[in-house]
Each structure stands twice: as structure tokens, then as C-alpha cells.
Symmetry: D2
Subunit: 452 residues, 4 copies
């Protein structure tokens, strides 16, 4: 390429030029590249490396180029390799020699590292917004189902479990954002630069919390991308678990929940099918993000410092994870609040599942039986129920007393109704409707703090 | 979508429609889809489900559509979800009711499974061609370097090691091709179809070796994609090892080999740099293919039979692995035969590395010392060499005799020259130039058999 | 260590000695190590490097050591690093100087590569035996269920799908076995040896199909381990899908199948629970083998030839995959033939699921409606059924005729009974009981060929 | 097993019992299990579920059992499945009926979740201690090498890059520790318990920061294990990069650094070899931890809530990652401070590599040339240097002036000496010795804060 070709005696092979170019995918962060260049030029002018005129020409030129790109009028050239050289080359074309001065005191190594961090920072913020929307959507659905009986917990309690998973995802992204938000710019190729740069000033212009402490590390470090992809993998893992449950719950055998038609598709040959496409697809997309994580980990394994061409491969697995997480969260943020629980069916299933067996054991314990012995007694009662196809509450008092004469008539009310069973789990974290209601209240307060 | 919407009361959400569509990426196998449909229609006519006229209309229609696609005149529609429904819908638009009959006796489940297999089969063949080119390129370079002394082996011997890796890759692809080349078509959604289809005939038309034996398995099976990605991961692993060696060898410290300029790029800030971009990039791309493998494995884990929407995610990781392997092999097939070994530098390095230490031990063994004792003696001689910064051949006979009086003047000629050392490893698989030359001859014969 | 310490001025740090030792896990292939040494000594004697007496002393010594190990009387020493040096050191202790001659013409690099291949070859054979047992167990259960109606296929047909998966696993192992069964011995450290070895003879003694063609490649190659772990990952993926189905089928909502108590456990707090522990655990173990595959792929990425200490890490992920696959196959080979299908419940579920909708569409097609139009018509009929909570066969003829007047009274018998639906899929690969019976017959013949 | 067998009619198959048991590996956290039980019993007594006598008997019994275990006198029984039931069973054996009461109000589900968290919390603290030791070891070595010239940075600057990586690792572990340190106990099987438990009190006794907010989530959540393994993967990735560099630097071609003999081993056949075993082995161990991460991610994918037997597989990949990270950090914490740089060789290498080319470009820029033009000029000068095998500082002024007449005699002193080059990068993060010294000072302060 014309931009570094001074020492070369032979032109780059055409296939090699395309094979090694990145502009096909790194043009995605043109906005961050331009913002970074504007901050860099502003700083260079402040320390006297550029004149104010040069700075203004550069800024105006870059803003025009940004408009060109957004209007679809920018011609991206493979022979200019990447987003950086495409923009710089166009800048020089527009403003002349000042354009050739922009790259003073920096290198593509610190430039691209800065661009990706700015990009990931923006995407983390966008994902946090989606997570918040989904979290609140779950809380809304929970509010309507604090005392809907599902199997052995209330449906609302189950939904809060989903909420908790997703809150951890937000926490992790917020923690990781600190490590994203450190500025590599000023590291140049790897050793720093001989110009009297003011990195703190550039960092302030770009809203970075800190400057990267070591230039060699700053251009080599892709931890933040891996940490993001690990957090993204956990998000997808959570969505896959939620998906699995929705797929089960909407199956012909469960029918616990309906997904509105607008989130489903049919079959090209079996007209009766209504497929839970969105959860199935999202369950499937989990593998993709795991793969993206593995790609980046493998990429960085055993690489000597500092920037090697290997690192060009850091972008696509990161972009793919970002896109997948965003799309999946958008779909769920719409779909989950629209779920329709089949309250009667869930209640019947709960009745059929010996849900109150533990309550019977606890009843015995409260009457003086040691827990392990109570457990043994109830096991035998259940075996009888299975044999007679009856729930514990459908066995007669006499039948129950076969197993322990401590069982009295109050057992049916105190232990063997679903409501009693659920209400009795009345401590923080328990499934009692009162606890679920309290959990919702705390949840809104926690969200407020989290996103403050 | 209009194609399966009979039972639905609500239109698909626009975002969901896009999120769940696959036409953006599965249009890639339009050619295989059309070939499959033509074979299917031909078979349906043979068994009397279609008239000859209908068959001919379908075939002509499909061929026209293929031409439209290749001319860039086909409008792919997201609302038609995938390559199959896009083509079928256009067919009906062109030829009327006969188009609506094409899908008789099949389902998208067996259709897509057939398309992917046809596609992978084609790609395996293309990759085998590239592997063959690279293998022969290596043999060509080897022929020129059968007696180039590198460190402790000849350079030619080292190249044959690369060749052997790549031959295993071809073997694996050839083995896996058998499992790709079985036809799912006729499985319909999962249970087979009520029409009197002739699967053997369709298989013959499409050059499949066999029909899939069980319809439920046939639509669920993605083993072949995973097996391909595993083979692709091994290819990339091999290329990453070759890359690592070229990166080392071209470093300022080694200088064993030059890569022609046309495969390299420079630095935007350090004008003196000539980067081994192609090997670095390919080393980096390894992670990507590993990630693709992991994506597919995760995708299929724990999926109940048969086709679930999850499986739509089988394509992109497969395509990405295919593209990466093809691009990487193309780059290496061009570049590796063009490597320029620095024969003098390699020879000097071999001299400096105590390469003949084992030969001295073997010399002692041939004079009656037990191997373990010989090993101990040589270790001490080396320690002296390190201390005096001398190779073993530069120590005096007196110095050597300190460690064993079995060492005589003939040691220099019989054991301590590089040529003697290399020539002495004269058995099948050994590094002696004569063996390398013989290995090349055998290699060409093996390739002929492999690609017969 | 005493075995290579000649040039060293400082003893190995104790922690380092333990950290870098492998004897804790590589003692697992003592049998292969001894077999390899016996063959090596036999060959050395044949070519005159050892006397017959030395050979016999070595062989007798090694056999005694083998007996010591198997009697639990062998003291493995960490300071001797690995299985090779532990055995060699003990040999020298027992037989004196001849023991020091055993290592002539080989290196630990080719020795360990040979040991692992022998070990993997044995394990592949053991796994093939387990696969065969499981495959036949499935066929046995299938034979009893060729016409058990499940949803929309027969239960027997579903079982054949499992069988097909596992047959591919056997095929893959058999293919990979060829690449395992090549002998590295004779490669020495990486360049071959100066002794007049007869590799073909050693290979014959050890039942290797061929000698590795290049010494450098032979000591560096771990493809076979990765290929094994990839095949193992596919086996586990298959077992995870079977597990998922068994977990679903045994759930309170499905109840399609019972797993005998001896394969289940209970809950420590909910006495009514009978957990499908074995399938859940095996589903969980899938991740472990995927991880083992990823470990090996990462391990080999970017490693320059030949043997680096990194490669010591090749063993545990391989062993873990072998153990996990063996244990899982043993558990399933016992459990699956013992599954008890609940025939009535499966039949009822099939009735409730609009299983015959496609048959109605096919009925219409046979009466002249284009497939896509028929599909649309049936979709509307299903919508009515959903609304009225009736299967298609429970709708009246009048209700059906609303959607098409081509529907006649024969529709109930020809299209809307489960038996008709299943019987009609009467082509190779289809679910018709006659086809399932034929598939079983072919299956036994295929197994015979496969394991010939 | 006797502990949950009430409902079962058939004994567990012996192989199944062993296959499904976990005591072989979960006995590792007996200490945490006992601490958790003591806290649980203390809380139960506080709320009146146990008497003070029962509480004391339990606590004494458990302490005795702990002593038995630590003395190697405890007999672990496979038929008791896991660490929990082994200890509880022994407790009942020792103290009678009070032992059977210990499990009141809890389940193995919340018990094991608590144990693992306590265990991981302890291990994070141990790993942080090792990281601190290694970080300080690096700083110590850095202090001695602030102005050691390496290629194009000082050796001290390079070491600080290593330090920065490891500091991020500590930050990540500290962040993740918050999410480990939440107490599941009180969640019972998944719904909470009917006893009037005081979770806050138990949490206080066990030093948990908070109680888990939702019982269903609390027993299902393994995020913390995955988050740990992701952090561990990053640690290993960093160690693999450091390893790669040490392997390069100690190679015969580089010789930049010596690793003391006590961290190295020799070759069994090439006595002259001194292998950098520790870094090679650690580079290899990276794959193992990546695999452990992938295992856990796969394990949790698509699992419906709450605890399934799959989750038994959460332990070994976690333990393996912990052990690998601890061992690797211990080895490096010893080895790295003992590295011996070859100062002269590094300086010479820096001289040979056109290290000052960028400085020449900057010199031109300071004399008014636009950066891109300067870059072009220097490229040509370098090409001449390559051709004449001379460093830029070895070209004559006349030769340099060919390319630009702005080059004056002062160029040699101002731009072309290594010292000038390094000293000029004098800003935060730059390689100037003064900056490295300042970085060390800041580093110690940061460590103090980090581990406060």
C-alpha cells in the first residue's frame, strides 16, 4: 500500500491485499475512529505540534467525511486496508498536507486499540439499556403472578430467578466497563512517542476514565474484548436456560405458557405446528457466542507482545457476540412480557407432582421426628400414592397414619394444600407470595442503583 | 409468512421476522437448492406425482431463476425467510400452479439438510484441490533443499514434516466426505412421506453414494458439519504451526528464511518493519475456526430430535470455517513455494547449537559405552563447550578425551561434522538427504493415490 | 534428574520437579511402554546393536517390572519424572548395564508418541465394543416397538435414529484408528538415529499398520489425539440428545417412558422425586469432553515443531475423554435396553397433537390440489381444531368440508387415523412398521460388516 | 442409598452407584461443608429448631470428624455418594438422633452451592496472594532494569507490561469475588423452607456479604464458577504470552535472557539441550483451563432450572482450573524474579533492528516535514541500510541527505542513538527510563490499594 510502501520492492499480491485487509469489517467503527482523530488533533494543537488552523482543517475534514459515510457516499477501498487509512487518505485528498500531519505521534496500533474500546464502551451501554428493559419486563410479568401456583414455586418466584440471572449480567458488564474505559492512545506503535503529548487531555476529551499505564501493554491488551465475550457468553447461557424452559412450557405436554403468534412461525409441511422459534433460535445462538469467546482466547494464547497481525482477528468474534446479544435481548425484551401463563394447567400440574411431600416431612419434624426419619416416612407415603395414582392430599388419614401415628387431621390444612405449602416458605428468598411481592419492591430499588 | 400462515391469527413481528430469517446467509447455496429441486421434480415425475409438463416447467423455471440470481437480478426477500421459500415463491410467480406442486413429498427439513450436504461436498472437493496444490508446492521447495542443512535436520526434511501434516488433512476430509454424501431427501419433516417416492433415483441424480437410512435421524443429523469443522480446525492448527515457524524464521534473530515482499506489509509508523502478515494473520485465524467448531458442538448439545429452529445456526459457523480454510490455503499455496531459505545462516546456526552432541554419544556407544553412560559423558563435554563458547567440533581432542579415552581422532570426521551427523540418520523417516529424496518420490505416488 | 543432568550446575527446584513431572498420570500406560520397549530391544538385537543375552535380560526385566506394577509393588518416583524413566531406572537397578543400553537409538520423544498411540488404539477397540453393545441393545428394544405409536413416528423408528447416530460414531473411530496406527518409533528426538534400525520389523512386532514417514512430524504429531477427542465429542453430543429425550419422556408431563429404579436416585429433601440421574449426568458430562477437545486444540495451536514440553499436557484431556466416553457408554448400554415405554400414554399424546395434518394435506394433493394450497387449507382446519379442542379426526365431515369440498368420507380412514398415517410412510427411511422391521434387519448386517 | 431410598423398590446398580457418585472429588471441600453445617446448626438453635444441647453435640461431632479427615482416618464411602452424606452419616453414627436433625431446613442443593462458594472464595484469596507475589517479583526485576536497552523499549518497560496484565487479573478476581460471596443456604431444594430460619444470621457467621435473593436462582446459579474460569483463562492467557516471550528470549537465536538451571530440564537424548520447561509447560496448560471454561459453559447451556444432576459436573473443571492457575503462578512467582537478562546481547539486537527509524521520521517532522512524507523518506533510508547491511546510525550524513536535505549532522545525536530514542519517549506510559521508574512507584501504591 502507498501508505507504508517506502522500503518495498514489489507490490502486494492482489489476493494477499484482500486477504489481509480489514476494511470490510472495521469500517463499522468509523464513528469512533473519527472521534478519536478529532481528540488527537485537538490535543496536538494544544501542545503545539499542530497549528490551530491545521487542527480546524482536520476536524472539519473529518466531520465532512463522517457525513459522507453516513450518506453512503464514501468509497471504501480494499487497497487502503482498513478504516484508519481509508479515512486518513480521504482526509488528505480533501485538505491536503494538514491531513498528512494527523498521524503524528500515534500509530495504527494505538489508534485501533482506542477505536475498539470506544466502540465496546458504546455497545456495553446499549446492552445495559436492553438488559434494563428486559429486567423490567420480567418484573412487570412477575407482579401479575406473585401468587400463581406453578410447580413447587409460584410462577412469579420463578420469574424472579430469571431476573436475578440478568442482574448479575448487568453487574458484570458494569465491572468490565471500567477496564474497557482506559485510553491506549499515546502508546504509538508500542513504546510511546517523542512528541510532547498530553494524554490526560485526550482522555478527558474522549471520556476515558484513565490512560493506559504502559504503552507496550496498551497496544497488546485485548483482555477487555475477551472479558466482554465471557460476559456475553453468560448472558446467552442465561437466555438459553430461559429458552429451554419456555420451549418445555409451550410444548403440547406442558402447555404452561403461551407465546403470542407474532413471535412464532409455522411448519412448511405440518400446518398444525406453532413453533417457539424465538426461544429455539436464541438457544441455538448460544453456541455462536461461546465460539466467539473461544476464538478470542485462542487468538491471544501465546502471542508475544506487542501488536501482531493476528490481532486483526479480534474484531469479528467481538462484533458477532455484540450483535447476537443485542438481537437476542431485543427479542426477549419484547416477547417475555407478552407471555401468557395458563394458570389452571400449572395449578393442576402442581397438584399431580407430590409437591407437598416436603411439607409433610416438615410437619413430622415439627411434631418431634428427626428430619432424616421424617424423610424416610414420607418416602413410603409417596410410594403408596404412586401405586394408587393419588396425590398425598388424596390419601385418607388412615392411609397416612400407617406410616406415622403423629399424623393428625390437621395435616391436610397445615401441610398438604398447595397454598399452605407455598405460603409457608416465608423468608427472604422463599417462594411465599408475600416474599415475591417484597422481592419485586427491592428489585426496582436495586435497578435504580445499578443504572445510576 | 404467507407460506405457512394458515393457522396464525397475528402477523409476525417485523423485528422477529428479520431476527429469525436466514436468507441473508443461506442464499449462498442457491445452486445446490436448485439442483436438489430439479432432482426432486424429476423423481416426482418418474413416479407419477407430477406430469412431464409440470416437471419441465419446474426445471425451466428453476434454471431461469438461477440465471437471475447469477446476474444479480434476483430480489431476495426477508419476509420469505430463507433461500428455499424465496426460490419457490419466485417459481410460482413465474410458472403458476406447477410451482406450488414442487414441495410435494418433501419439507424444508429434508430440503435444507440436502442443500447443506451438497454444498459441503462441493467445498470439500475445492479444499482438497487447494491442499493438493499446497502439498505439491511444498514438495517442489523440498526438492531444492534435500541437503540444505538446518538445525539438526535438513531444511527439506523439515518441509516434509509440513507435507505429512497436510496429507493427514486430506485423508480426514476424504473420510468425512463419505458421511457427507448420504441423501436426506425423502425424509420430509421427519417421518418420511406418503407419496410413492423413489429415493434411490433422486440420490443417483444428485450423485449421492447412499440414502440416509432413517428419516428422523436424517433431518436431525449435523454430524457432518461438526466433523468438517473438526477437520478444518486441524488444518488451521497445522497452518498455525507452519506460521509460527515462518514468523520465527523471518525474525531479525533467526533470518533463516525470506518471505517475498508481495506477501508482506509495512508498519504505519516504523518504516523499517517488514511484517510476515500472512503467517501472522493465518495464525490468528486459527482461533476463529476453533470457535466455529465449538459453536456447532454447543448448538447440537442436548437437542431433542428432530429439526428445531436452533439448527438454523448451523450455517454461519460452517461457512466461516470453509471460507477461512479456503482463504488460508490459497495464501499459503502461493506463498510457501516462494520462500527463500538463507542457506548460509541456517548452516551457521546449526554449527552453533551443539547439533552433533547425540552423534558423539552414538560414537561412544559404538565404542562400547552403554547409552546412558555415553549420554552423561557428552553432557559434560557440552558443559565445557558452553563455558568456552565453542562447538564440540571446536574442542581439541585432548579436551574431549578428558571425558572418555574412547574418543579418538576419527571422532571429528565420523561424528562431529554436520554432514556426517545428517547423513548418518539414514533409515526410513530419517533426515539423511538420500532419505529425503526417497521421501519425495514416495510422496508424489501417495498423492496420486490419494486424489485418484 | 540423574538421567539428563550432565550439563547442569544446579539441582531442580523441588516444586518445579513435581510441577513438571508426568508420572502421576502417565503411569497409566505402563503396559504400552513395556510392550514398546520389548519390541525395541528385540529389533536392536536383530540388527546387532544388542546381544541376544542383553535382549533377553531386558525382556525378562521388563516383564518382572510389569508384574510388580500390577501387583501394586512398584514405587513410582516423582524425581524420575515419567513412566519411561521410572521403568528404565528400575530396569537398570535389576539387570545392570544392559538396562542402560535399552534407550539406544530412541528418545523419550518417539517413545512417548508410540506409547500414546498404542494406548489410544487399545481404547478405541474397547469403545467400539461398548458401542456395539449399545447399538445391539437399541436394536433389541426397537424389535419390540416397531409398531408402537409415538408422536408422529413409531417408537421403534425413533430408536433407529439413535442407532444411526451411534453407527456414525463407530465409523469415525474406525477411520481415525488408521491414523493412530502408524509407528513413530525410530524417529528418536526428531531427526532419526544413527543406528541401523529396522523400523518395519518393530512395527510388525507392535501390530502397527505402517511406520510414520517423517521423523520430525512423527514426534510432533498429536492429530490422532485431537481426532479422537473430536469423535468422542460427537459421541457425547449424541448421548446428550438421547439423554435430553429420556429426561423429557420421563418427566411428569410426558411419562412416555420409565427408567428402572436401579438407574435413578432420589432427593435428599423431596422424597417423592425419582431423578433420571444417569441421563442428566451424561448430558452434563458432554461439556467435559468438549472441553477436553478444546484443550488439545489450544495446546497444539502455534507450536513450532518438534516436541516441546507443552505436549506433556496432551495426556490428561485425552484420558479424561476416554474415561468419560467409556463410563457413559457402559451406563447407557445397560440402561437403554431396560427402558419401559408407556405405550398407551404415547398413543394418546400422538392423538392429541394433530399428527395427521400432513396426511390430510397429502389426501388433498392426491385429489388434485397443489401442495401449497393443500397446506393452506389444512392450516385452517387445524385452527378450527385448536379452537374447539379437537383432533382433526374428531371434527365432523361437514366441518372439514368447509375448507375444501374435495374432502370426502374416506378421509377418516385413509388419512386421519394414526395407523394409516404411519403405515403410509412406506419407503426406505420412512416410519412405517414394515420399514422399521426392514431397517432392523439391515442394521444387523451393517454391524457385522462394520466390526468384521 | 439409604438416605433417600424410601420410595424405591430396587437397589441402585453398583456401576451406576459409582458412576453417579461425587465423593471421589467433592471430599475436597470437607472443610467448607463442615463450616457450613456448623453455621446452619448454630442458626437452627438460635431460632429454636434445635436445642442448645443438640447444637453443641452437632458442632462437637463435626469438629471431631474434621480431625478424623485431616488425620486420614475417615473412610469415604462411595455408596454414600458425596461429601455431604458421608459426613452426615458419620455424624449420626457418632452422636445419634441429633445428627439426623442437622439437615432440617436445608437440602443438598443449597448445601453444595454454599460449599462451592466458600471454597472458591478461599481459593480466590489464595490466588490473589500468589498474584501479588508475582507482581512484586516483576517490579523487583524491573527496578534493576529501568534503563536496560531492549528492542525498541527498555527491558524494564517490557516487564511493566507483564505487570499490567496481571493487575487486571487481580481486579477481575476481586470483582468476581463479590458475586461469589452471596449465600444460597436457606434456599433448600429450590423453594425455601417452612422453618423460621434466619438467613442473615447464618450469612454473618460464614462471612457472606449478602444472602442470595431468590431460592430457585440460588440453587441453579453457577455463574460464579464460570466467571472464575473465565478469569482463570485470562490469567493463563497472560502467562502463555509471558511464556512465549521467555521461550523466544532463551532460544539459541535470541539469548536475551537466562533461566536458572533449577527451573529447567535436559533432554534424554540431546545432552546439550537446556529446555525452558516451566514456561513451555505453562504455555501448554493454557489449553487446559480454556477447556475447563468451555466445559462449564456447555454444562449450563440450556439447563432448565433448578438443580439437575448435570450440575455435579461443575466441580472438576473448576478444581482443575484452580489447581492449574495456582501451580502456574507459584512456578512463575519463583522463576521470574530469578531471570538473568543478557544486557549486552539485548543492546546489540536493538542496534541491529533499525530501532531508531521512527526517531528519524520524528526528526524530519520537527523540521517541518508532514508525518506521512517523513515516513516515506525514512522508508527509503532503511531500504538502503538493508541493502548495505548497516544501521541508520552507520550510514553517512551524505547517504542520509540523499533522501532529505533537512537531515543535518545533529541527527546522529538527536535521533539515531538508542539512548536518545528511548529517553525521548518521556510521557506517562512511555518507555523512557524516568517514566519506568515513575511507573514502578505508582505500581507499588496501586498494589497497596488493590489488596487493602
Amino acid at each position: 500500500s502507498g501508505m507504508w510502501g517506502g522500503r518495498f520492492s514489489e507490490a502486494t499480491d492482489a489476493f494477499v491485499a484482500e486477504f489481509t485487509a480489514s476494511v470490510q469489517f472495521d469500517q463499522r467503527f468509523y464513528k469512533q475512529d473519527i472521534a478519536g482523530s478529532i481528540a488527537h488533533a485537538t490535543m496536538l494543537a494544544k501542545v503545539g505540534v499542530l497549528t490551530e488552523q491545521e487542527r480546524d482543517d482536520i476536524i472539519n475534514g473529518l466531520n465532512t467525511i463522517k457525513a459522507e459515510i453516513e450518506a453512503g457516499q464514501f468509497e471504501w477501498r480494499i487497497d487502503l486496508e482498513d478504516v484508519h487509512m481509508n479515512i486518513e487518505s480521504r482526509l488528505t485528498q480533501r485538505i491536503g498536507i494538514a491531513g498528512k500531519k494527523l498521524h503524528t505521534g500515534r500509530s495504527r496500533n494505538d489508534q485501533v486499540a482506542t477505536d475498539i474500546r470506544l466502540y465496546v464502551r458504546d455497545e456495553i451501554d446499549a446492552i445495559l439499556t436492553l438488559l434494563e428493559k428486559l429486567q423490567k419486563g420480567i418484573l412487570g410479568l412477575t407482579s401479575k403472578n406473585t401468587d400463581t401456583l406453578a410447580q413447587p414455586v409460584t410462577f412469579g418466584h420463578h420469574l424472579i430467578a430469571w431476573f436475578e440471572m440478568l442482574v448479575r449480567d448487568s453487574e458484570r458488564l458494569i465491572d468490565s466497563r471500567k477496564r474497557v474505559n482506559r485510553m491506549p492512545l499515546g502508546s504509538a506503535a508500542l513504546a510511546g512517542t517523542t512528541y510532547p503529548i498530553d494524554r490526560a487531555y485526550t482522555a478527558e476529551l474522549l471520556n476515558f476514565e484513565a490512560v493506559a499505564e504502559n504503552s507496550l501493554d496498551a497496544v497488546s491488551d485485548r483482555d477487555f474484548a475477551i472479558e466482554f465475550n465471557a460476559a456475553a457468553s453468560l448472558i446467552m447461557m442465561h437466555l438459553s436456560r430461559m429458552s429451554e424452559e419456555m420451549i418445555l412450557w409451550t410444548s403440547a405436554q406442558f402447555k404452561f405458557v403461551n407465546i403470542p403468534d407474532r413471535f412464532c412461525t409455522g411448519s412448511s409441511i405440518m400446518p398444525q405446528k406453532k413453533n417457539p422459534d424465538v426461544p429455539e433460535l436464541i438457544r441455538g445462538k448460544t453456541g455462536r457466542v461461546y465460539g466467539d469467546l473461544m476464538s478470542l482466547l485462542t487468538l491471544m494464547k501465546g502471542q508475544p507482545l506487542a501488536y501482531n497481525k493476528d490481532n486483526q482477528e479480534d474484531k469479528e468474534p467481538l462484533f458477532d457476540a455484540i450483535d447476537t446479544v443485542r438481537g437476542s435481548l431485543m427479542a426477549f425484551a419484547d416477547m417475555i412480557p407478552a407471555l401468557v401463563p395458563n394458570i389452571e394447567i400449572m395449578r393442576e400440574a402442581a397438584l399431580r407432582g407430590f409437591s407437598t411431600a416436603t411439607d409433610l416431612a416438615d410437619y413430622l419434624v415439627k411434631n418431634g421426628v428427626a428430619f432424616r426419619d421424617a424423610h424416610e416416612i414420607v418416602g413410603k407415603a409417596v410410594a403408596l400414592g404412586v401405586q394408587e395414582s393419588k396425590d398425598l392430599s388424596e390419601l385418607s388419614l388412615e392411609q397416612l397414619q400407617q406410616f406415622s401415628d403423629l399424623i393428625q387431621a390437621d395435616v391436610f390444612e397445615k401441610a398438604l394444600t398447595l397454598e399452605a405449602s407455598v405460603n409457608a416458605r416465608n423468608h427472604i428468598g422463599g417462594t411465599a407470595p408475600a416474599q415475591v411481592a417484597a422481592a419485586i419492591e427491592r428489585a426496582y430499588i436495586r435497578l435504580e442503583k445499578l443504572y445510576a
